[in-house]
Subunit: 200 residues, 2 copies
């Protein structure tokens, strides 16, 4: 029981409590905040959710989410068509876009292969990736899966997948993150950073 005799609020709280990163306590806090101004906070949020639910599409080319398909990145003629960055999820794509450095196109896999099997390759967007590469216009594929066991497994799978094509395959650099203190780095990162050391 979260509240009592009040099914409207109960239902709303338990819906919000199921969102990722939230629980009953944070859901109650959010609902109590929204209740303070139903017209200025609650209804606009409801409208924005409805609008998003109606407008959002998955890009048929790259798997990004947008209000148009192909998405605005795929449609952007100022971006380099010859270089494609492969990411696990849309949030990874957004993270790279925020860094505002990469000006090529993306391909969203929709997840990773499981290192121990279980998730079949068919569940991810590998087919559309090889179809895109097979067209011949892409010259470089940057593998930007996460630096986790599963991300790397997926990376190796992509390398195998794209070997038949004449395309350069690269991956993100591994090492000490900016602002990182050696004292707080795990041994794996330190070993890799030493192994991959570069001329100063």
């Amino acid at each position: 029981m979260i509240n009592m005799n009040n099914s409207t609020l109960d239902k709303l709280i338990s819906t919000i409590a199921k969102l990722p990163g939230l629980g009953p306590r944070s859901a109650r806090r959010i609902v109590l905040h929204l209740i303070k101004s139903p017209d200025a906070l609650m209804l606009p949020l409801a409208e924005q959710l409805t609008q998003a639910a109606e407008e959002i599409k998955i890009c048929e080319v790259c798997g990004n989410v947008d209000v148009v398909s192909p998405c605005n990145i795929c449609n952007d003629e100022k971006r380099d068509d010859s270089i494609v960055c492969v990411v696990e999820t849309v949030s990874d794509l957004w993270a790279l876009e925020r860094s505002n450095f990469f000006k090529g196109k993306y391909h969203v896999l929709g997840g990773t292969l499981s290192a121990l099997g279980g998730r079949p390759p068919e569940s991810l967007n590998f087919n559309s990736l090889s179809t895109r590469v097979a067209k011949g216009a892409i010259q470089e594929v940057i593998i930007a899966t996460n630096a986790t066991l599963e991300g790397q497994t997926t990376g190796h799978y992509i390398v195998d997948l794209l070997t038949p094509f004449e395309v350069k395959i690269t991956r993100l650099a591994y090492g000490i993150p900016m602002g990182g203190e050696l004292d707080y780095m795990d041994e794996g990162t330190l070993n890799l950073a030493l192994k991959m050391r570069q001329d100063f």
Copy 2:
């Protein structure tokens, strides 16, 4: 910039990011989760928010939020009218209701007085409290403000406010919380728990 060229999602994310306890990162995560199933997740949430915004009322008696006013607690004839528990906020009321022990009525102040002044007593529901007590049916007022400086300041203010009336004024017990380990308690709590020690 949270996303790009996508005002629907941008707007939704920045609205969610302003909710208490959330920020841009958790807002993006929530939106990406909702996007996965617009019909099963996004629209129901929008509908529940709309419904809540339309139905929710502030109880004219105690300040609780409910779909009716007076609220279901004030209306509940099985609850004891002669004892009123004064809390700072609706979330405090909900917390006490979850503990399922108190069977009297409530009075929600809507906040605390500031210990250094600044928030005037008129901004809180003191008037309606003394009006309720003045009617004579209330025999005990339990002050259940938080054990903070501001909560206690507010408590003292209520004691002064209710002195003219013939009503018993009590407050929640202070001490070691259940499951609390002495090693982790602050000195204030330990001093208080010693001072307030009870016969075994």
